[in-house]
Symmetry: C2
Subunit: 430 residues, 2 copies
């Protein structure tokens, strides 16, 4: 047995830098907690000469074999990103009986099953707390603390960029493009913001969370996704008048037989705990049959918050090595639930329609909804300029397919100028 | 090795009933997760004939030896309450090499150290997630997920009764006595509410949380405590005008050398995540050097939420038995930090003083504060009826002893009718 537990790290970007900082500033306490010293032994980078925020020049290598084939290394930390290369490296690490800790959601959301199988085959740990919601503890609480529960739903603000943008649109009255630009200027959005604003990043995270919550494998392509690019400050204000806030949520709901997993903007009651999560903060709302409603809140990204999760996983892997129980908790996807198509999902909807301001318009729209079994919870009609009026409806729960049928007919009505917005409503009692 | 893992439970009140329900409704999933069946084998009660909500008559015994000395039993679940008897029974369980799960905060907050020592000596697990904040996962997240962090502070709404009362006073404009009566009628407060409203219950919980967060043993008598009986709806409204809400918080802050641990009402900025935690809900706000601000929210009491935590612990103990690693994570109090006296603690304060409405009054009060090095952040003076006025001050951070010195002098001023309220302010930037 090594007198110290040795770490090899793949990648030295933001998160890698955070990991170095946390291990170095809190190393002596971590040693007390684990019972053995944890030592960073080697770091794989592309460019050894690049200037870095922390001095790790003596640890750098450009040869993955220095880590993956190094018998001294106990735990491999993958913070390099990418899917294919990271996948290949992690499999090699497993084959060489090394525990792996990753923060790579793109990888886990696609290859989670194969990674778990390889870890299990080799009797080592595979941890990925940092892949969802940065520093917020959520994977381990679901797998351990709440695992006596039957989870009914997981709903989360799991993308900080879009939450920052929606907060700026709500609090500052900005339009989407302007809010996005501000987010980019402040570093909350990437130069190419597609993965965030189109909901793809959130989709990867909810796939991972849903797999754990419902004990059934859900991958990224299983997730229905809509982004926030069509949200207007106009709708946000309407929503607020009606007592709602607009958020991009990852949503997963399940029964014994099936699950629905989706990412899209929602109206959520302003009294809901998720409604008060602002700016770049994330939060995950979990409903279990025993625990009831619970929520986990914090920073969902960033060098140090994500490093907090990665180091937590390193410590767990180290404790398992120390106790001789690697693989203590492995894959928990022991079920195989059917994944619902979005057309089968039942939601409430907020719908804004521009119409001619003529008598009988509301009756004809309500008639179409009635014929498609869409029941209305509330209707507001407002006069706009000229001869246009605006009808804002909130429906009761309705099957998505029925709603789409009704909207197709309504869009064809001569009195209807435009179906302006269709946003699902979540988090309110039926 | 037993083909099943057998549980003996001490007590069959609310929480015990919840544990029976959860194990019975989710038993088959739990078996999949653990890899072995978990079976309730025996339950200690005082009265076998008592009518119960779930049928467990075949499991009941009045003899503790049937559980504590029964070699078949692997895990003892203590949900009977009391300090001395529970302590004695748990020690016997440890001696007989049984893991112990408890939800007994009174016991853990006083005898935590001895319990851990006994568990360690006998190589078994000791878990107590249910002892703090009911179903909210907080002990394990602190001990595992966040354990790479240096924790700077833990601040929580950890008593549902007082949060219910303060919410009723704030939202409904009720006075304390009326809100308490409502809480009692609805079952949120006990017939004898002392432990809740005087902050004693919260003090036990913050002692437990602080011990884990700062890796140094803090017991119930170490905690400075003030309850909410002196809070008036008048001060709550004043606070709201100033942008604050009034909450009863358990607060623990620490450095490498010392910790401060206290329970008292506070003014907290209405934008703070804890400010939106209403009614009987609990939430614990944790600040770590890596993770930043994080919060854990949910129901802090009740049959099923607490059972969720207890069953989570049972599963952890069962996984450790299954893997042959009982005692995998034991006591983490490896430091011995000095506990600050309240007089040394630095806080901001909200102070309301009734004075004669005469020129120069404010100057003389401000003068006294100045002489005691109490620096003022804001001052409002309002005219009351007759020749009385009211001065409401918020101070900058000041050492408690200095503030008390100043208030003693101010109370003696001839122009001062009464120092009406002194409430600490937390959660705002300096």
């Amino acid at each position: 047995m090594n007198p110290v537990i040795k770490i090899g790290m793949l990648g030295m970007g933001n998160i890698g830098t955070g990991v170095v900082k946390v291990l170095s500033s809190n190393g002596s306490d971590i040693e007390e907690k684990v019972g053995r010293r944890i030592q960073l032994e080697s770091i794989l980078v592309r460019d050894i000469k690049k200037k870095r925020a922390v001095d790790v020049s003596h640890l750098l290598t450009t040869d993955p074999a220095d880590i993956l084939e190094n018998p001294e290394i106990d735990i491999v930390v993958e913070v390099m990103g990418t899917i294919d290369t990271a996948f290949e490296y992690i499999l090699r690490a497993f084959e060489n009986k090394k525990a792996v800790v990753t923060a790579n959601k793109d990888l886990v959301a696609v290859h989670g099953k194969k990674l778990f199988e390889a870890a299990e085959e080799n009797g080592v740990d595979f941890f990925f707390e940092g892949s969802v919601a940065g520093g917020i503890p959520i994977i381990r609480p679901l797998k351990e603390c709440l695992c006596g529960n039957r989870i009914n739903g997981v709903m989360g603000i799991i993308n900080g960029t879009t939450n920052y943008i929606l907060t700026a649109m709500s609090h500052g009255g900005k339009e989407f493009a302007e809010a996005l630009e501000e987010a980019q200027r402040l570093g909350y959005a990437e130069p190419d913001p597609t993965a965030d604003i189109e909901g793809l990043d959130a989709a990867r995270k909810i796939a991972i969370l849903a797999s754990i919550a419902f004990n059934s494998r859900i991958t990224y392509p299983d997730v229905y996704v809509e982004g926030i690019t069509k949200i207007t400050s106009y709708d946000i204000q309407y929503a607020e008048e009606l007592g709602y806030r607009v958020k991009l949520l990852g949503i997963a709901k399940g029964t014994e037989e099936e699950v629905e997993v989706r990412v899209h903007p929602v109206l959520i009651p302003s009294s809901h705990p998720l409604a008060s999560v602002y700016n770049e903060f994330n939060a995950i709302f979990v409903e279990g049959d025993a625990v009831g409603e619970t929520m986990f809140y914090g920073k969902g990204a960033g060098e140090l918050p994500t490093a907090s999760a990665v180091v937590g996983d390193i410590i767990s892997a180290a404790r398992n090595i120390q106790n001789g129980t690697p693989g203590r908790i492995g894959c928990t996807c022991f079920k195989n639930k059917r994944i619902k198509h979005i057309s089968e999902v039942e939601s409430k909807f907020y719908i804004r329609i521009s119409v001619s301001d003529r008598p009988g318009v509301l009756a004809s729209i309500a008639g179409v909804f009635g014929n498609s079994s869409v029941s209305l919870a509330s209707v507001i009609q407002k006069r706009l300029e000229g001869d246009l009026a605006e009808v804002v409806l909130i429906t009761h729960k309705v099957r998505e397919a029925n709603l789409r049928d009704a909207l197709a007919i309504i869009e064809g009505l001569s009195v209807v100028a435009e179906v302006g917005s269709v946003i699902r409503v979540e988090g309110s009692e039926e």
